[in-house]
Amino acid sequence: MRVVGLGRIALCLWIGSISLIGGCGGGSGEGLDSNGRPIGEGADPGGPILPNFTSIQSHVFTPICSVCHAGGSAPQGLRLDASNAYAMTVGVSSAEVPSLKRIAAGDPDNSYLIQKIEGHASVGARMPYGGPYLDAATIAAMRQWIANGAQP
């Protein structure tokens, strides 16, 4: 009985320490750009989204997609952090539907990434997973960039 009591107390202390690690609020953001990276480290153009890769990376891929799509366990092998996103999307076959390119330059309708964010892909859930989904203006900018040739 004594061992059970001590074990429970030890576990409660451990759990309590985890809650303390969590703290009460988010970071202050001091010295960081809008994506939480040190100012000057990366290209964060700010302002509204534009139909170019740098802007889409900063407004969509980095802050939203790379929460899951980054690192060694990125779903479907798709890494959308700033150093990998272009090379892993433009002209690259989708892992879920290999007959489609993730981004087919000049052809937004047949770009699997557009189908996933618009919610009419033939396989799996709409992205970003669990929402909120991208607004019409953001999707329009991404479509325009692809239609213009999906330049880096």
Binding site: G5, G25, S28, G31, G72, S73, A74, V92
Partner: protein, 361 residues
């Protein structure tokens, strides 16, 4: 109000034509049972066994199911068990400076089947997501086990074992580890189930090693069960041409009166970033209060450090959920989540409210 009534009417009809089985690890902690006590899959989640079916109808639900539903135990033949899982929800998201968005619809419909090819020794398991979109295979594996279930092996496509197998796949710990019930992997898993210990070790392709990216993943976890709760440790090593990853996790669960507690702390180190290796941490603290039979209140506190070398970039998420299980085939959930992040990113400070209908058989 009209919109809510329309949603409930629509989802109820949907539930009747597409019947859930889904794991919530707090139930195992609350009862002191292992995952394998209620699930066909020894790692937990998915199709329930006969004990699990009885448990959900007689222990979790507020009321007994009406006849003939109460006779359902998941078995359609001595060699075949089936089950299903439907989740449909309506979510409203508020981001400062932007219009409020509202999305409703089917989150997922899954069907499960377990075939006993050689009773208590050799089986085949399938978890098929049939909606939304085209059918998508989540799990499909052959399972070999000793007659007492003390040792088993799975070969095929399955979910990897790492930390608490939460229903909420968007929890920070699940997003950071990249191991959840949305990301199956192909490989071989060996498991052990002893009275005080559970262990799994898997060798797989790695969910991130797809297309031109090549490599493999080694994932393992060990859980120690005691009368006062349980403690677990997990690790994953990803070998990848796009950059290696090391993950470590520690997790625990206990009860204090009517409250079941879950906690997890994960650390991930990723190569393949311009600055070299990036380390991230995430934690989860979850309290589940059994108000009265069939009624559960869930409170969670989560923390994410996206880069341990960068200061002031932490994110937190708080959730308050109410779960009502009127009968053993139906659950209604409603919740609110607060996100807090750096002030210059409005999206990281969003609020989200949702109602969900979860039907299962």
């Amino acid at each position: 109000m009209k919109a809510l009534l329309r949603f409930l009417a629509g989802t109820t009809v949907g539930a009747l034509i597409s019947l859930a089985a889904h794991a919530e690890p707090y139930l195992a902690v609350r009862t002191g049972l292992k995952c394998v006590a209620c699930h066909v899959n020894p790692d937990g989640g998915g199709l329930r066994n006969a004990v699990g079916q009885s448990f959900v109808q007689n222990v979790i639900a507020a009321n007994p199911a009406p006849a003939p539903l109460n006779a359902w135990n998941g078995s359609v033949a001595s060699w075949l068990r089936i089950g299903g899982d439907l989740r449909t929800d309506s979510t409203e998201t508020k981001v400062d400076g932007q219009a409020t968005t509202r999305v409703s619809g089917n989150q997922q419909t899954r069907l499960y089947a377990d075939l006993q090819l050689l009773e208590n020794h050799l089986g085949a398991y399938i978890d098929e997501q049939v909606a939304p979109g085209k059918s998508l295979r989540q799990e499909a594996y052959a399972r070999l086990q000793t007659s007492d279930g003390g040792w088993y092996a799975k070969a095929g496509q399955f979910y990897l074992p790492f930390g608490w197998r939460l229903q909420d796949n968007t929890a920070f710990v699940r997003q950071l580890s990249g191991i959840s019930m949305t990301v199956p992997d192909k490989g071989l898993l060996v498991g052990m189930e002893k009275p005080e210990w559970s262990a799994q070790l898997a060798y797989s392709d790695g969910p991130g090693n797809k297309g031109a990216v090549r490599g493999h993943q080694l994932t393992g976890q060990l859980i120690w069960l005691q009368p006062w709760g349980r403690l677990g440790a997990a690790m994953a090593h990803v070998q990848s041409t796009a950059g290696n990853r090391q993950s470590w996790g520690a997790f625990a669960g206990t009860t204090t009166g009517p409250v079941a507690w879950l906690a997890e702390l994960d650390l991930v180190a990723d190569d393949g970033y311009p600055e070299g290796q990036r380390r991230q941490m995430a934690s989860l603290l979850e309290a589940n209060w059994l108000v009265v039979k069939g009624h559960n209140v869930k409170l969670t506190s989560e923390w994410l450090n996206p880069d341990t070398r960068v200061s002031n970039d932490d994110k937190v998420r708080y959730s308050l959920l109410y779960e009502y299980t009127p009968i053993g085939f139906l659950q209604l959930r409603a919740g609110y989540r607060w996100f807090k992040g750096i002030p210059q990113n409005a999206f990281d400070n969003r609020r989200l409210g949702f109602v969900e209908l979860h039907a299962f058989f």
